[in-house]
Amino acid sequence: MKSASIQLDTLTCPSCAQKIEGATKAFAGVDAESVKVLFNSSKVKFDFDDEKVSVEDVEKAIADLGYEVKKTRVKDK
């Protein structure tokens, strides 16, 4: 398992947070329980299994929703 923290461009509506949470949870390798969208710091944090899903896939899904990804950090867990 790895944990990722993705910094996004400023989030403005709380429903954006819901959308991003939904999109991230939709991936099979992402631990749904761990997904946290920090509205005020505009960050997404989650744990994932890097054999099943790559962080780039998640980044792309979020970017497709219209939220610019600024920086991603991945750490071993």
Partner: protein, 617 residues
């Protein structure tokens, strides 16, 4: 394509505005219906594009968002050929979102300033021995780094060579530079004012003290209180409910205009955003003033505080006793040397204070030392019998106390001193009063806390009751209890909470008093920005600065008030709009959207006031 449209949102908003102006000019000034209709129609379509995309994405993840309501409303307006309304609503919605982003960034600015202080790069020693600039993420524990004058220390580490002075304000809040040399610990995020040092990395990234502070603040601003979680749950069902209501109204009245107006009026914007905005601004203000508040639950509890309980030593007092007064009787010169010689061999806490007071003097060899438990020491120095101790011990040594000495003793005792008397060959030579000084400014700070509405200020201490009483009286505390072990303190706090139903904050030592810190609703650990203090506290005072407590309390009160105001504004606006649509003639979609966006800006601006909050003296 979707991404492109969303990225161009600001430009689209502008185009919308221009088209609307052309449309109205065409209709009203040039009386040209065709221009009016066409430009408003195009404006609606342009404006609708990004909103509809967002709505579609929301529905894909099974969320009925505000975008969904607005999209349906605009399409509805299109159907009844009300292009004026559809154009104005889309424009207001987009323009509102733009203003929200701008103002929200302001409320978050304080915390952003903090995170931007994080180091970005480091000079790392490579395998060939040269130093190269790398991203701070590439530094691992054990790497050797070079830090030059003016640079930020990239990680927590230990100095292995060089010297310099470091400004540690980002960690401790204290801006006076601290001298560092070989073996000193340095912290990430602090700045090397002058000198050049080489350090070895001990902790990197989020594990550094600075990283922990940032993480704490970031988590805090997004932590949710009970009320917020309720609003979130509410919002989840609220928007679908509004949609249903719209459909229902349409089904019954067959009035599409009314139905879509309800969709727009029902948008919950201000309600969902009001509380987080107050929260982030309040926590941001704290971070700027050296007060870290761990989340909105903490803000609520702290703002409704009844009782504050303090540890004495190290919290209200300095924690290092010193001689407050000394009185010499006949020929004290040699007696001073004898006293120093005896204290030199003792490890009693008072001995340190006395030696510091006497300074360097000639030391004699001490013989036949006899320690009287709870009394003092008797020994032979230079052939004289020297007794050092309290009044009871000297009396048992048959030292006669003159009337003058007795008056002095009574006066010093009353002042909260521990007494150390020195007698040589049965004659009193020196009387010293030793006291743990009250921290400067504490009395005024306590007064301020009281003025802010804290009902009880209570002190618990392991010290003897006499000393505790004196400190308690001097500081004007409600109650003061002595002879308490850490578990007694915890039990007392439990009693306050469970039996008296009070909301309690405990301020104390992060290590010894951790049971009390954990039990109290709000734990505040004093202990120079250490890990323990950060982890065990609900409120962290940077640099253990007691004087920030009143600001912290005032700030949480202001923040809590602000949240309540925002909820009232949001709920009030929705109620007003719904009432207006049913009972008035003038309400329509455009006015509804205007009021709605206005209320969102109102709660954001209201929240922003917290950034400038200052405690009135």
């Amino acid at each position: 394509m979707q991404r492109f449209v969303l990225n161009q949102k600001n430009r689209i908003t502008l185009i919308c505005a221009v088209l609307i102006v052309i449309g109205f000019a065409g209709g009203l000034v040039f009386k040209n219906e065709t221009i009016a209709v066409w430009s408003l129609m195009v404006a609606s379509l342009f404006g609708l594009a990004p909103i509809a995309i967002q709505a579609y994405q929301a529905l894909k993840v099974k969320v009925v968002s505000i975008d969904v309501l607005v999209t349906i409303a605009v399409i509805g307006a299109f159907f009844i050929r009300n292009f004026e309304e559809s154009a104005i609503v889309t424009f207001l919605f987009l323009f509102g979102a733009y203003l929200e982003q701008r103002t929200l960034n302001k409320t978050r600015s304080a915390i952003k300033e903090l995170t931007e202080m994080a180091p970005e790069s480091a000079l790392k020693q490579m395998d060939n021995g040269e130093f190269e600039e790398v991203e701070v993420d590439e530094v691992d524990v054990g790497d050797i780094l070079l830090v030059k004058t003016g640079a930020k220390i990239p990680v927590d580490g230990t100095v292995i060579s060089g010297e310099g002075s470091i400004n540690e304000a980002s960690i401790t809040g204290e801006s006076l530079p601290v001298a560092k040399g070989k073996g000193s610990t340095v912290y990430a995020g602090t700045i090397l004012d002058n000198g050049t040092i080489q350090i070895v990395a001990d902790r990197v990234g989020e594990d550094t003290t600075f990283g922990k502070i940032i993480e704490l603040v970031e988590e805090a601003q997004d932590s949710k209180s009970e009320a917020e979680r309720f609003i979130d749950r509410f919002a989840k069902y609220y928007t679908p409910a509004v949609l249903l209501l719209g459909i229902l109204v349409w089904a019954i009245s067959r009035d599409l205009e009314l139905a879509i107006t309800i969709l727009v009026l029902g948008c919950p914007g201000a309600l969902v955003i009001g509380v987080p905005v107050s929260n982030v601004a309040g926590i941001g203000n704290g971070a700027r003033h050296g007060v870290l508040l761990k989340g909105s639950e903490v803000i609520r509890d702290f703002s409704r505080l009844d009782t504050m309980v303090f540890d004495k030593t190290g919290t209200l007092t300095e924690g290092n006793p010193s001689v407050s007064e000394k009185i010499y009787y006949e020929h004290p010169d040699e007696a001073l040397e004898y006293l120093a010689s005896i204290e030199h061999e003792s490890d009693h806490p008072l001995a340190k204070a006395i030696l510091a007071e006497i300074g360097p003097v000639k030391l004699w060899s001490v013989e036949d030392t006899e320690v009287v438990k709870g009394g003092g020491i008797v020994a032979t120095v230079n052939g004289h019998r020297v007794a050092v101790g309290n009044v009871a011990m000297l009396e048992s040594e048959n030292v006669t106390l003159t009337e003058q000495a007795k008056t002095d003793i009574a006066r010093l005792e009353k002042g909260g001193n521990s007494l150390v008397l020195t007698a040589v060959d049965g004659e009193l030579k020196i009387l010293m009063g030793v006291r743990d000084q009250i921290r400067p400014g504490v009395k005024e700070d306590l007064q301020r806390l009281k003025k802010l509405g804290v009902k009880n200020l209570i002190m618990l201490s392991g010290d003897n009751q006499g000393t505790v009483d004196v400190v308690g009286r001097e500081l004007g505390l409600t109650r003061a209890y002595g002879n308490m072990l850490p578990e007694d303190k915890a039990a007392y706090i439990k009693k306050l909470i469970e039996e008296e139903g009070q909301i309690v904050a405990f301020v104390g030592d992060g290590v010894n008093d951790s049971p009390s810190l954990a039990l109290a609703h709000i734990g505040i650990a004093m202990g120079s920005g250490t890990d323990v203090a950060i982890e065990t506290s609900n409120v962290v005072l940077m640099n253990s600065d007691f004087s920030r407590l009143p600001h912290a309390l005032g700030l949480t009160k202001a923040t809590f008030r602000n949240m309540k105001q925002n909820i009232i504004i949001a709920v009030g606006v929705v109620l007003f709009l719904l009432a207006a649509v049913f009972f008035s003639e003038w309400m329509n979609m455009s006015i509804g959207m205007l009021v709605h966006e206005g209320s969102i800006l109102a709660v954001i601006l209201n929240g922003m006031r917290l950034l400038g909050y200052k405690l009135r003296k």
